[in-house]
Symmetry: C2
Subunit: 143 residues, 2 copies
């Protein structure tokens, strides 16, 4: 199996180029999803248009996944570079916790099967209050 960028690109019949490696590097250097623009900023040696084209390719190849927060897309590495996971985002402090659950995955597979749907990918985002914020915040007043 391929497990590095080069083999994935080659397997897909795509060229291994410096810009693509640079974007990949940028993504590797962080553990949080980044705004697309932020990825571009952190990869100044690569033109913005190329960053977008690369990100589009990466997503198509499953190298990255994109999720939304507010109205802004955030992109991060996907499997096999990061274990499969989803996000739990605190509305108050903005912290992002990664979650993984086989049960969850099973349920999603089941739902897809039930609809004759061939599941290629999926995203799950939970939003609420993290442990510490829920403790430090005053309770909502019941009237």
């Amino acid at each position: 199996m391929h497990s590095d960028l080069e083999s994935i690109l080659k397997t897909a019949g795509q060229s291994v180029t410096k810009p693509r490696q640079a974007v990949f590097e940028t993504l590797s250097h962080t553990d949080e999803p980044l705004k697309n623009g932020e990825i571009a900023k952190r990869t100044p040696q690569v033109d913005r248009a190329s960053v977008y084209r690369t990100l589009e390719l990466f997503t198509k190849l499953g190298i990255t996944t994109t999720t939304i927060r507010g109205w802004t897309p955030f992109t991060e590495l996907a499997e096999p570079f990061k274990p499969h996971h989803h996000h739990m985002i605190c509305e108050h402090c903005g912290s992002v916790e990664e979650i993984a659950s086989d049960t969850l995955e099973d349920v999603l597979t089941l739902i897809a099967n039930r609809h004759q749907f061939i599941l290629k990918s999926h995203t799950v985002e939970l939003s609420g209050l993290c442990d510490s914020c829920s403790k430090s915040l005053p309770q909502p007043v019941a009237s």
Copy 2:
């Protein structure tokens, strides 16, 4: 319990204004998620900036939910105006199927609980091939 826009806004200490009602009307008149810009176009009597501010408020109050497709955010009414659901999107024909599953909801609640996380909202998006597309498309060649 409140079940209409007016009571939700009032309960939240927000003003009931014509622009907000207009945006809400626009959202009510469709059953598919719309691009934010499209919502603005369909609500020409309201300034674009106000549409965005309204959408931001609506999302904070849980009146609407926003999901991403490609890199573009789509917004639609949430509960109680639409029954709680998620999306299954065909990569090939772009069709959107709504899905709902108590089991799925239970699993998400469990995961949140396990992390002491107070779950306020969540999104789930499945991507792949719908039944008809998977039948009409040629099978990928195994090499």
